[in-house]
C-alpha cells in the first residue's frame, strides 16, 4: 500500500499552474483574433496561420505526450534497452516527414483539406477509401486520449490523491481537469492547446534539465546509474538488458522504423501540420523538433535513475506499477515545491495532446462522416458546430473509457492504434507522390493488414500473466523466426496486396476515379491562388 498523506506544497503548485493554463485556454480565443471561429479553418486549424515558433511548441506539445513521458521511462525501468527505441524512432521520423509533409501541406492548402482523409477523397475519388482512413484515425485516437488521462492519474496517485474508497470523490480531480479542458477546447479550438503548449513545454524543459543534472549527482553519477540498471535489470521478470541482445536487434529496429512511419499518420499530427502558415514551416520544424527527441532520450533515462534510487512503485491497488516510477522519483528526489512543478509539467503535458487529438478526431468525424454521408449540404458554420460538439463527445468517451474500464485496455488499444495507423501510410504518403496505386487495391491492402495486424497483436501473450495483447512484436513470417514490430510486418503485407491488386485491377481496366489534384498543387505555397470550394467536395 502507498503511504497515506498529501503533499500540500506540491498540490498547491499543481492547482495554481492548472488554473493558469485554464485561463490561458479561454483567453486563447482572442489570440490572433479571427472575424469568426465558426468554420473549421479557424476553430479546427487555428486559422492556418501558425509560424515556425508556435508550430514548434504546438507539435512538440502534441507529439511528445504526457503518456510518452511516463510510459517510455516506465518501459526502461521495467525492461531496459528496448525502451530506448523512442530515440531512434523520434530521430528518423524527421528526415521521413521532411520528404512528404511539404507536399501534403501544399495540396491541402490549395484544396482546403482539413484532414488526411479529405486528401485521400480528392486524390482517389473514393468515399469508401476516405472513410477507411478516417475510421482508422478515429479508432486510434480515442484510446490515445484516454491514455493521456492515465498520465494525469499516475501523477495524482503519487501525490496521494485518488486512493479513497469513494469512487466519485477519488476521480473528482480528474473530472474537474477534464471539464476545464473540454470547455476551453470547445470555445477556443486549436488556439487553446497552441498557447498552453508554451507553458507545458517550458515546464517540461526546465524539469528535465534539472532532473538530469541534479538527480544523477545525488545518486553517485551517471556511471553509477547505468551500473545499477545493469545489475537490476536481469533480475526482472521477464529479464531486461542494458543493451539489446542478438534477439532484441530486429524488434528494436522495426519498432523504431514502424513507429516513425506511423507517427505522422495520426490525425493529431497532421492537424498541427496543416495549421501552419506556409509550406516551409513543416520542413524547418523537421530540423528543429529533434530538440524534443534529445529531451525524450534524457527522460527515458529517468527510468534508470528510478532503478538506481530503488523507488517504490507499488500503487493504490497494492501492485507494482512501472508507470509510477518517474512521478515517484520526482517525489523522492525533489523538494516539495519542485516536485509540484514536475507534476504540473506531466499533467499539463497531458492536456495539450488531449485537446489536439479531440479536435483532430472531431474534424475527421465532421468532414469525412457527417458531411460526406449524413449532411452533404453542411455549411462551414454547421461544420464548426458539429466539430465542437464532437470534440466534447470524444472527450467524454475517453473519460468513461478510463474510469469504467481496465486501464490495460486503453494501453492495448494504444498498441493496436500504432499498428492500425501505419496501414494508412500507402494511401496517404504514396498517394502524395504517385497516382499509380488503384483505390480498390489500397482499400484491400488496408483491410488485409488491419485484420492481420490485430490478429497478430491479439496472439502475443504476456509472459507473466498470459493475457492477450502482451506486446507489439511477433515472429516475422519467412525470416527464420526473427521477431519484429507487427505494424511493419502488416505494412509489408498491405503493400504487397496493394501492388498486386493494382496490377490486376489495371489489367481489368476497372475505373480508377478522377484525380481532383494536379502536379502543381503539390508545390503550392502561402499566398498562391487557392482553389475554391471543390466540385467533388461541394454539395451535390
Amino acid at each position: 500500500m502507498r503511504p497515506a498523506g498529501i503533499d500540500a506544497t506540491a498540490l498547491t503548485i499543481v492547482i495554481v499552474l492548472f488554473v493558469l493554463v485554464t485561463v490561458i485556454g479561454f483567453a486563447a480565443s482572442r489570440w490572433r483574433r479571427a472575424e469568426s471561429l465558426a468554420n473549421l479553418d479557424e476553430w479546427g486549424l487555428g486559422g492556418r496561420g501558425f509560424g515556425t515558433l508556435v508550430t514548434w511548441f504546438l507539435l512538440g506539445g502534441d507529439l511528445y505526450t504526457a503518456y510518452t513521458f511516463v510510459a517510455v521511462p516506465a518501459l526502461m525501468f521495467a525492461s531496459g534497452a528496448v525502451g530506448f527505441f523512442a530515440v531512434p524512432y523520434t530521430v528518423i521520423v524527421y528526415p521521413l516527414v521532411f520528404v512528404f509533409l511539404p507536399r501534403l501541406w501544399s495540396v491541402s492548402h490549395r484544396h482546403g483539406y482539413v484532414t488526411p482523409a479529405d486528401f485521400v477523397r480528392g486524390r482517389y475519388d473514393s468515399r469508401v477509401l476516405a472513410l477507411a482512413i478516417a475510421l482508422t484515425g478515429l479508432l486510434a485516437t480515442m484510446p490515445y486520449i484516454a491514455l493521456q488521462l492515465v498520465g494525469i492519474q499516475s501523477v495524482l496517485e503519487v501525490m496521494g490523491i485518488g486512493g479513497g474508497s469513494n469512487t466519485l470523490l477519488a476521480d473528482l480531480p480528474l473530472l474537474v481537469a477534464f471539464a476545464a479542458l473540454a470547455a476551453y477546447t470547445y470555445s477556443s479550438g486549436l488556439r487553446a492547446p497552441a498557447l498552453i503548449a508554451f507553458v507545458k513545454d517550458i515546464l517540461i524543459y526546465v524539469v528535465v534539465l534539472v532532473a538530469v543534472l541534479y538527480i544523477p549527482s545525488k545518486l553517485g553519477g551517471w556511471g553509477h546509474v547505468f551500473d545499477s540498471a545493469q545489475a537490476a535489470l536481469p533480475t526482472h521478470k521477464p529479464p531486461g538488458t542494458l543493451v539489446p541482445g542478438p534477439a532484441g536487434l530486429w524488434p528494436y529496429a522495426t519498432l523504431a522504423l514502424g513507429s516513425a512511419m506511423a507517427l505522422f499518420m495520426y490525425p493529431h499530427s497532421i492537424t498541427a501540420v496543416l495549421s501552419t502558415r506556409s509550406r516551409d514551416i513543416g520542413r524547418r520544424n523537421a530540423a528543429l523538433l529533434p530538440a524534443y527527441s534529445l529531451l525524450l532520450g534524457l527522460i527515458a533515462l529517468l527510468g534508470y535513475m528510478a532503478l538506481a534510487a530503488k523507488v517504490n512503485t507499488v500503487g493504490f491497488d497494492g501492485k507494482p506499477n512501472a508507470q509510477l516510477a518517474v512521478p515517484q522519483l520526482f517525489a523522492d528526489m525533489f523538494p516539495s515545491w519542485f516536485s509540484g512543478i514536475a507534476f504540473s509539467a506531466i499533467a499539463i503535458g497531458a492536456l495539450v495532446p488531449a485537446a489536439i487529438m479531440s479536435i483532430a478526431a472531431a474534424n475527421l468525424f465532421t468532414r469525412n462522416i457527417y458531411r460526406e454521408f449524413l449532411r452533404p449540404a453542411a455549411s462551414p458554420a454547421e461544420e464548426a458546430r458539429v466539430s465542437k460538439l464532437t470534440s466534447l463527445v470524444v472527450k467524454v468517451g475517453a473519460l468513461l473509457f478510463v474510469l469504467s474500464l481496465d486501464r490495460t485496455l486503453a494501453i492495448n488499444f494504444q498498441l493496436l492504434g500504432g499498428i492500425w495507423m501505419l496501414q494508412t501510410f500507402p494511401a496517404i504518403v504514396f498517394g502524395l507522390f504517385t497516382r499509380w496505386f488503384h483505390r480498390w487495391a489500397l482499400l484491400a491492402g488496408w483491410a488485409v493488414a488491419m485484420v492481420y495486424g490485430t490478429y497478430q497483436a491479439y496472439n502475443v501473450l504476456n509472459p507473466i500473466t498470459g493475457a492477450h495483447f502482451g506486446g507489439s512484436s511477433a515472429q516475422i513470417p519467412l525470416l527464420n523466426g526473427r521477431n519484429g514490430y507487427i505494424a511493419l510486418t502488416a505494412f509489408v503485407l498491405n503493400l504487397v496486396v496493394a501492388v498486386v491488386g493494382t496490377v490486376v485491377l489495371r489489367a481489368m481496366k476497372v475505373p480508377s476515379g478522377r484525380d481532383a489534384t494536379e502536379s502543381g498543387d503539390y508545390f503550392a505555397d502561402a499566398g498562391d491562388p487557392r482553389v475554391g470550394p471543390l466540385p467533388e467536395l461541394a454539395p451535390a
Binding site: T52, R110, P244, R284, A287, G297, G520
Partner: protein, 95 residues
Amino acid sequence: MVEQPIRPASRHAVPARATGTYVICAVLLLAPFVALLWVSSYAKVSPRLFGFPFFYWYQLMWVLISAVCTYVSYVLVRRVEPRRERLEDRPGGPR
C-alpha cells in the same frame, strides 16, 4: 525572353528538376536511417562516455547529427524550389 511574373505563381507551376541537389539531400536524409536501424553496429556497452554506455551516447549523438542533416537539406531544397516571395519573412506575415 519572356518576363516571368513572380506572383501570383501559376497554379500549374512545378519546380525544375535539380537532380544533383536531390541526390545530396537523399544521402543526408538516409544517413540517420542507416546508422540507427543497423542496431548491431552500436548494441554494445563500451566505449563509455561520461559514464554513458556506447549504446546510449551514440544514439543521442545521432539526434544532433540528424538534425544538422535535415537542416542542410532544407537549405539546399529551398534553393531549387521556385523562387517566391517568402510571405512569412515579411513582418506581420500573410495574415
